[in-house]
């Protein structure tokens, strides 16, 4: 029943988003992503770096994983599971060759962040998200919930990382 309500809320949110054009004032960042009702956390771009990665293949992106204070504290102390209030952000950009850098190095070797693709979040709330290991998942594109995101696939895919509280990214010192 709860799930049905979530889905209804999600549908209503998506419908609302479709009807209301995002205002130019940037208020769109308060729209909640579906299913888990996660809103874009303010100031996330200033959070410290947990790690970076390059995903080749279909994604072909460069990504940075950032964490809020609770996430960073848990990572550095090795606390598992992550405490409620933890938020982990995954920023990603198109994996792009840098002609400018390559010219300096005298060979093709430099790949940098191109246009942003999307931003994903994991939000810990062991009560609200009890059915999905305590995590809510969200994806935003251009500051708005990404309607193309298949958030129902997030949790099953994160299952292999169950031993680290469903989080793949490990701390890079």
């Amino acid at each position: 029943m709860k799930r049905v309500i979530y889905l209804l809320v999600a549908f209503a949110t998506v419908a609302g988003v479709a009807l209301l054009k995002a205002p130019a004032s940037g208020q769109s960042d308060r729209e909640a992503a579906p299913i888990y009702e996660v809103k874009l956390p303010p100031g996330y771009r200033d959070w410290p770096v947990i790690s970076v990665a390059h995903e080749a293949g279909d994604n072909n992106d460069l990504r940075a994983v950032l964490g809020n204070d609770l996430a960073m504290k848990a990572y550095r102390k090795g606390t598992l599971p992550f405490p409620d209030g933890t938020i982990i952000a995954r920023l990603a950009w198109v994996y792009t060759a840098s002609e400018e850098n390559d010219k300096v190095f005298g060979r093709q070797q430099s790949f940098v962040a191109g246009p942003a693709t999307n931003v994903q979040f994991m939000v810990k709330d062991s009560i609200k998200y009890a059915a999905t290991g305590g995590w809510g998942f969200a994806q935003f594109k251009d500051g708005k919930p990404d309607a193309t995101a298949k958030l129902e696939t997030c949790f099953p895919c994160h299952q292999p990382a169950q031993a680290r509280d469903y989080v793949f990214t490990q701390y890079a010192p």
Binding site: H54, E100, V112, P160, A172, P173
Partner: protein, 108 residues
Amino acid sequence: MSNDIAIKAYREGKLPFPDGAIIAALHYRNVPSDENNKVFGKVQSFVPGPPTNIQFMVKDSTKYAATGGWGFGHFQDGKPANAAFMQPCFPCHEKAKGTDLVFTRYAP
């Protein structure tokens, strides 16, 4: 990564960077992640391996007037490199004159 002064300059597109700006480059080995690749079902995931070194650019237009206002630092396991090692930093970064000798662009 960078300190507040550098981030502010980056976001405002301010050039040259003001005195006090510090930009840090943390480097790691590029290592395939067997764990992630298993999840994706193919080899595609590369993550940081062991740290290699950390480099800094520190802006002080008076102290470092001879090198475009930038002091360069290179640390390995918390220890600084010797003077000879630091010689190539400035000549190489001069090629980024249009962006105050800084290669890295802000990724939004």
